[in-house]
Subunit: 249 residues, 2 copies
């Protein structure tokens, strides 16, 4: 397997060392080589290095310290703004103010992001994805002046690692891979798949710290709670509509 892919781990502590412009350009150019729908390139990348703007983004991203620690923050956006403008000055009526177009642009943005990750790591840098982007999309739109037709979908912090975490264990391959068609799981299979993770030292420690009976409860009760998911679902849907992607009639 490609060594960079094999050795990927999320980095949450960064050195203050800056990233050379030449290296940053390589990362950005690598992002643009990813496949994109009909070669429309309906995404954009906002590169934030200014300390004051990073401070503002820090607030949007639940105050995760790595946001200001890492020298570069990349906000990947689904973006039909540029393409729509191009259509409008070329006697072409854009029909991209709908949900499918938003989702198509999201795919473009996310494939570009993963290319950026691999190139950054090949250049000796570390990265971390910030899932808070979709939760706090409205605030990020305000901070980064994103116009209509643009929605932030994920964020990367990039910098030189100041920690060397272990590789994160994954479930056995058969948990995510299905051959020919989907083969649904019965209770026994689920138990087998999760057995190792449930019985790890890390899990035992987590259960004690959180005073929980099962690892699953740590996800449902602490990390990814129903009430939060519902709240942020409505917030994100509102953003998608406000940015002009819900004219589905």
């Amino acid at each position: 397997m490609n060594k960079t892919i094999k050795n990927h781990r999320s980095i949450r502590k960064y050195k203050s060392k800056k990233i050379d412009k030449a290296i940053l350009d390589e990362i950005l150019n690598a992002a643009t080589r990813a496949s994109t729908t009909g070669n429309m390139q309906v995404y954009s990348i906002v590169v934030t290095q200014d300390e004051k703007i990073k401070e503002q983004l820090l607030g949007a991203h639940f105050n995760q310290a790595m946001l200001t620690q890492a020298p570069v923050v990349l906000t990947f956006c689904a973006d039909f703004n540029r393409f729509n403008k191009w259509c409008n000055i070329n006697k072409a009526e854009p029909g991209y103010d709908n949900f499918l177009s938003f989702y198509t642009a999201s795919i473009d943005a996310l494939l570009a992001a993963q290319n950026a990750v691999i190139e950054a790591e090949e250049q000796g840098l570390g990265i971390c994805y910030l899932g808070t982007t979709t939760y706090m999309a409205k605030k990020i739109i305000d901070i980064l002046d994103l116009p209509k037709g643009v929605v932030p979908v994920t964020t990367l912090v990039v910098g030189y690692a100041d920690e060397t975490p272990d590789l994160t264990p994954r479930l056995p391959l058969k948990s995510v891979v299905h051959f020919e068609k989907y083969h649904d799981f019965d209770e026994d299979m689920i138990k087998k798949i999760y057995h190792e993770r449930e019985n790890s030292e890390e899990t035992k420690q987590l259960l004690e710290e959180n005073q929980k009976e099962t690892l699953a409860q740590i996800f449902t009760d602490n990390r990814y709670k129903k009430q939060d998911n519902i709240f942020f679902s409505n917030e994100f849907l509102k953003v998608i509509e406000e940015q002009g992607f819900m004219n589905n009639k």
Copy 2:
């Protein structure tokens, strides 16, 4: 830049040569090394090699010949089914039947897909993404027996290339990259950005073949039409709801 990233092109003609199981496993394992939200791995990959099932998928994907030509079809799905089942047998109430969770799972699936692409290309294979996945999600769900909690979001065909296409030109980097904040485009900038593409030999040929005045019209009138986008927006939103991801209250 990483050579594999730099040399990426979509392949639309494939040799009949099969992919060794060891190579396929490397590709699938590489996919699992991508970042995933909270290490929940809320995605799945359906690997289809059976000729009969590929024939069915061919119909779902607008009869693009590469679907049956390429030996392997990978359908990447946003998938909370496995995770929900795990919660349910562990006294934890899953709260992942909402839009945010669907979008989170989509991100997981798409990052995994791009890792699979890079590993496949490193192994000497070619790939092509099929955007038709979201258009025809309902049909794909039926063909691949995808249960509730699972939505197909993109598809890759993978195989040995039987063509050597040129690299696809991209817009200048400044078209997709914004420094610090988003800097919106005026008409002059849009014209500059698209100048080279609009004046290429390929564009001149396209305009003549399609009897159009501008390249933008080929996108709006032929390739990605408003009426189709609206139709497939509603179809895809219906699928997201039917698969159990729209309980946002």
